[in-house]
Amino acid sequence: MKPPTPTVLAAPDTPAPARSRTLRGQAASPGTALGEVVLLDDAIDDARFTPVEQRFASLAEALAAAAQQLEGIRNSLDPCDPARGMVDFQIEFLADPALLESADNPSSDLPAEEEVWRPIIEAHIADFDTAEDEYFRHRASDLRDIRDRVLRVLRRTRAPTIPALGDHAVVFAHDLSPSRFLSAAWKPTQALVLRGGSPHAHIALLARARALPMVVAVGAAPVGPGERALVDGAAGTVELNPEPERVQMLMQAQQQQTLQKALEAEKLYLPATTATGEVVSVMINVASLSELDQVNPACCDGIGLVRTELLFAQGVPSEEEQLHFYRQLLLWAEGRPVVVRTLDAGGDKPVPGLGMPQETNPFLGVRGLRLCLREPEVFRSQLRALLRAAAEGDLRIMLPMLTSAAELTAAREHLEACAQALRKAGTRHRTPPLGVMVEVPALALALESLGPIDFASVGSNDLLQYTMAAARDLPEVAPLADPQHPGFQRLMHILTESARAAAIPLSICGDLAGQPVHIPALLRQGLRSLSVPVATIGLTKLAVAAWPLRAPHG
């Protein structure tokens, strides 16, 4: 592959038809790339005219086989790849019994499966194609992808792929099915230009995840293979055979943008300090490993809250599965603390396979630690995994929904029993610090009643709604769930004072911590450790830096 330098264009032996022109389309994925045009044939459905050798016993069987292919694709994707969402949707769609409901005769041989399949799927495609909402119109392409995959299964032909591409290939295609897009290993130095398509199509999302510059809807203007193309994915333009000055300008602009981003990133990596120079710890809340992929651990002081409910979303995970998850978190944190909250499930957050209590008001029922104490086997397997992971980093255990000292004692007994069993078995482990999440108002009023405890963290979402007796997410009563209410402020004051008196390190990991409007009040209360959603790290640091507004006696 030729290096993408302007001198190549200016060379006297450059072939003649290097006419400069610009194609205008829509921006689909930002980034700039300069390279050679590769035309992709539109073999979207080359299965259509292939002779049939062997028919599937039933359409249902073909759908299952197509779903199985998709499972294979899904398993090959990175866990944080947005393509998983699209593939998951296709798998669920194929597995839905409702799909074949409209079929006249889904299981017999007449009419042929293909003739049964086409009207079914085409009806769904047409339904999405004519949707008012643009987003839903674009789902039609996911369904065409399903249609063609099933047709290929029925006809036993292979899926169209993409030929090997050079590092600076600018690929032109009419449209691209997500499956076909996924068959190539794209690089940010390449680019994708679609004559049709939409910036809302799934493959635009996939391109963005891969930092692949992409422009869509450039129209049918003729483009020859091997022409040089400068793709500006943010502007939505494709310049063919650009002037050398133009190339230089764009490349410079890109460098400047990179520099600007670096400056912003630099701010993000500075420790959070108040206007008076006090350092505040800013940690993050996470529920899955994929959230961490875009985050450099250096921009925070650790993970202040790991929600473990996602781990249990498909049923109770094995101890080893959990251990793997906690290890990955510690690896990511590079020595920074990782506070793992034990399973916080309940009637409102059920775990498949775990008998959930029948309650009219699950928010005041068997949830959080209460549920763990009722399900000691589940609790102990989590504690064992945590004890083992703790040997490998600064892991800390946090108990949710704790109300009384007796519950803490019971939880601690489970932890000690697990540690003892691991010791006996000669399994590497460490007993980590044990803390509590303060969500129950009675505990906030009497934190010291727990006796010695390694740390506490305010779960402000539940603490606020329990204190105000108002759900934050119910429009009619949400204004009542006001953190600035004197009652809640007094509760927070009592809590912070008693934590200080008992020398219990206190942090906050609820939504309040990441809301700039509430941060001054939290800092005024004496909180110096905030755990916030990943997206609000920078915002939180800025709010901390702006506090106090003026010198206390100024």
């Binding site: 769609f93 987003y135 498909q314 009637g347 959930m356 119910l474 009563v477």
Partner: protein, 102 residues
């Protein structure tokens, strides 16, 4: 959660505002149907209280509703775990589909 009305036995209904950006599109629809399938109760969804009601466990039908952001989603469930099912689905929608099955 006060929006959930659980009658004396095995029946529950609720109405919740769909705030998710882009509406009830592919990913949230998959998350919702997967969660619905963890319950035994029969769960129905509608974007209009007068119906038509569709099976909340069918991604084909949930997607066909094409519910947009800002719409009111109505649900009703019948079965032993109807109340939990409705509570969990309301919570999922209110939590903007964070924390549901992956």
């Amino acid at each position: 959660m006060n929006s959930v009305n659980a009658a004396d036995s095995g029946q529950a209904q609720a109405s919740v505002l769909l705030a998710h950006e882009g509406g009830l599109h592919a990913r949230p629809a998959v998350t919702l149907t997967k969660l619905a399938k963890t319950f035994n109760a029969r769960i129905l969804l509608a974007s209009d209280a007068a119906g038509p009601w569709i099976d909340a466990k069918s991604v084909v039908k949930v997607m066909a509703m094409k519910t947009r952001r800002g719409a009111q989603l109505h649900m009703q469930a019948a079965g032993a775990d109807a109340a939990q099912a409705v509570t969990a689905l309301v919570k999922l929608i209110e939590d903007d589909f964070v924390g549901g099955p992956p």
